[in-house]
Amino acid sequence: MIDKKTLLASLLGASVVLPLPALAQDSASDSDPVTLRMAYDADPVSLDIHEQLSGGILQLSHLTHDPLVRWTKDVKFEPRLAADWERIDDKTMRFTLRDGVKFHTGNDFTAKDVVWTINRLKRSADFKAIFDPIASATAIDEHTVEIKTHKPYPLVLNLATYIFPMDSEYYSGETEDGDPKDEIVKNGDSFASRHSSGTGPYEVVSRQQGVKVEFERFDDYWDKDSPGNVDRLVLTPIGENATRVSALLSGDVDFIAPVPPNDLDRVRADKNVELTTMSGTRIILMQLNQKRVEAFEDPRVRKAFNYAVNQQAIADRLMKGFATPAAQLSPKGYDGYNDSLEPRYDVEKAKELMKEAGYEDGFSVSMMAPNNRYVNDAKIAQAVATMLSRINVDVDLKTLPKAQYWGEFDDRAADIMMIGWHADTEDSANLFQYLTECPDLETGAGQYNAANYCNPELDEKVAQANVETDRAKRAEMLQAVEKALYDDAAFMPLHWQDLAWAAKKNVKLEPVVNVMNFPYLGDLVVEQ
């Protein structure tokens, strides 16, 4: 080793370079508790896992609670609290629950907790929409639950990934102030937002919102086969990208997420740190508003726009390979993913189509995109605007912070708007319902369809698929919808955003990551 004398350090004085006591613990022997210090861009807003449907809350749910089933890396189901399940009829699914599971309070986990949790989910403002198809949940015996749906519903298992049973006994009754312990309060104090009891691998031991949350391994965790060996978790929110990366590189934390794409190379180059990436399921697309621009009613113009944009170049150069170019909404692994669809890029073809449609000289449009919501969002919008100039389309681009952007989006304030979408149910039908169905204020269909694209035939097909419980048949139907949307150029798909995590070499992230972007930290192994 080269002995380094650091001039700058010696100028500042010796105290400056003293190593942290925390660092010294890393090399401790096996018997010492293993601590994982992790930094996320934000900490969970509440301990109540039904208060908000967001990444932060779901990550928390996987720490303090366990779902009935969970997703594996290749978008399959893995049994957790539900040991087994079977479909009784079109509308009924029966789950057999695991035996001998305990809540953090010591209460036994039984079927009544599952029923209680589902009923509470149906009351939550954020979750009630996705739990709408469920009619009722009944406890058959201590360890069997039946979930009935209003109509035949193929996605009961997808919903079961959101059912993290809560300790019903613990949340029953009233607080000292006379408020029910199970109430869900969005903007105020509630019992559940400060107290937590689940069956998960970790218990919250302390929480200072916006500063840090500390977890400790639950001694009576049911999953004795879990390889996880982390005894203590410390989660610190670090919103600033550069700081989060610095904290990892300097060894102040062991694990960070998300990794900003601009720092991927820097993280990759560091010999103490390992980068883990996988393709994600969040689609980034542009919507061409037909209500605002007459030309967009012509499928030839929409196609021309699609031909003009080089998705591969955006993914390679702008996203530095941190994205998968898309030609459809459904990512690989979804039932609706149609592998015959390829991104189309051909400027000549685009010009031809514009000429055919009578817009050889192009026209002017406005475009809006957020600048802090998706990875490189503003830059992507600029690239698309430049690419469109090659077919003589003059784009007036405006980028806004997300807090302001969504208001504009709701007003459909520009001719072209950017949106990213991840299906809460990990299913193609959800993508269609929100992004391409005919907008209908009453039913909430097409809530984020800023293109105003409307094809009742396709909507009908999606509705049929949603009552088709034969998975193979259903996949065929959804893939046909993707194809139809592609042929119609209903929108401009850009790419699926990749996911990235980075951790010290001894943190074995690879086996616990999954498409949901929440590594299953309960099973995480940290080598000593």
Partner: protein
């Protein structure tokens, strides 16, 4: 004195009133708080319900009236994000910011006075020229850049080897240019000493102090050069004055002239500027705290803006306004102590 304080109190009220009106008036441009509170797939009907519940549909005057009535009773509302009274949230974040400002002020005072005085006494020396040119650089580099550079140099470390590594001199030169890192890069650390209430301090342990060094240095980096130049300029002027010449002629030792007679008069304007800058420094903490993830008011404020947490934004702005008024009042009082010829009430407001 009492008349002066009463007048200042009234000032404070006017300032707070204006700030609250302005921050209330811009809230419609801060984005929709509901958007930040609910998931993306929540239907519009749910959002409307929540909006009604929070009273966001009322007219500006009704909303402001409600806020003002409560504020007069000390109730500044609930933070949308923290689900707590905003005053409590700020109370919890205030100590971290104050410690950072105190640490930066200490650095500024300890370095600026001797350096400034030296540069005034020996304006032509090489060292003075060096300080002057470095201070120009210090003023020109933005705080966040200084902060990121400090992190790279002292937290991560830089491995810079333009010289051959197989020779002794090359190794030595590379070593001089490289740094090892090892300083904490974010946060306040775990080794905090509890003082009282919500105040946990970094000042009483070595570990706590190491966390404080980098943020405090970067916060001080803007003000330190400013004060060095200010003290130098004032001191130069004082040294030209008649009474200094007279004192020299009288044979009083130079040391006494410099550090008793001249320095005292130099400090008058410095205190005035210092007081105003102290308030500005609280504002600069927004950048420093963001880069270092220092859990103080600045970081809290920036996040509140991103979340459209309007009650918290309004309360923060009002409290910072209050800090400005209070520091300025204190400066005026101290001014009177240093220079008894200044009459407080006689001073134009």
């Amino acid at each position: 004195m009492i008349a002066f304080l009463i007048k200042r109190l009234m000032h404070a009220f006017v300032v707070m009133f204006v700030i609250s009106v302005i921050s209330f008036a811009i809230q419609s441009n801060l984005g929709d708080p509901i958007q930040q509170m609910v998931g993306q797939s929540v239907p519009e009907s749910q959002r409307a319900e929540l909006r009604e519940e929070l009273g966001l549909n009322d007219s500006f005057l009704v909303q402001y009236g409600r806020f003002a009535t409560n504020a007069l009773q000390g109730d500044f509302g609930y933070s949308y994000f923290f689900n707590e009274p905003t005053t409590e949230v700020i109370q919890r974040h205030l100590p971290a910011t104050l410690e950072l400002v105190i640490a930066a002020t200490l650095i500024i005072v300890v370095f600026s006075v001797p350096i400034g005085v030296y540069c005034a006494i020996r304006p032509r020396s090489a060292l003075s020229r060096f300080f002057m040119s470095v201070s120009i650089i210090g003023i020109s580099i933005p705080v966040f850049l200084t902060a990121i550079m400090l992190i790279q140099l002292f937290a991560i470390g830089v491995d810079f080897s333009p010289f051959p590594v197989d020779t002794g001199w090359g190794q030595w030169l590379n070593g001089v240019l490289s740094t090892e890192g090892g300083m904490p890069s974010y946060g306040r650390g775990n080794d905090l000493t509890h003082l009282f209430g919500t105040w946990d301090s970094n000042f009483f342990s070595l570990d706590g102090l190491t966390y404080l060094v980098l943020p405090a240095v970067s916060l001080a980096s803007i003000m330190l050069p400013l004060f060095i130049r200010l003290i130098r300029a004032e001191m130069l002027e004082v040294l030209q004055s008649e009474y200094v010449k007279f004192a020299t002629a009288k044979g009083i030792s130079l040391k006494r002239i410099y550090f008793v007679h001249a320095l005292k008069n130099t400090m008058l304007p410095v205190i005035t500027v210092g007081g105003v800058q102290l308030g500005t420094m609280v504002a600069y903490t927004i950048l420093t705290e963001t880069v270092f993830q220092w859990p103080g008011m600045g970081l809290m404020f920036l996040e509140a803006i991103q979340r459209s947490d309007i009650p918290l934004i309004v309360t923060y702005l009002m409290i910072v306004g209050l800090i400005f008024v209070v520091t300025n009042t204190l400066v005026d009082l101290i001014y009177g102590l240093v220079n008894p010829t200044v009459k407080l009430t006689g001073k134009p407001a």
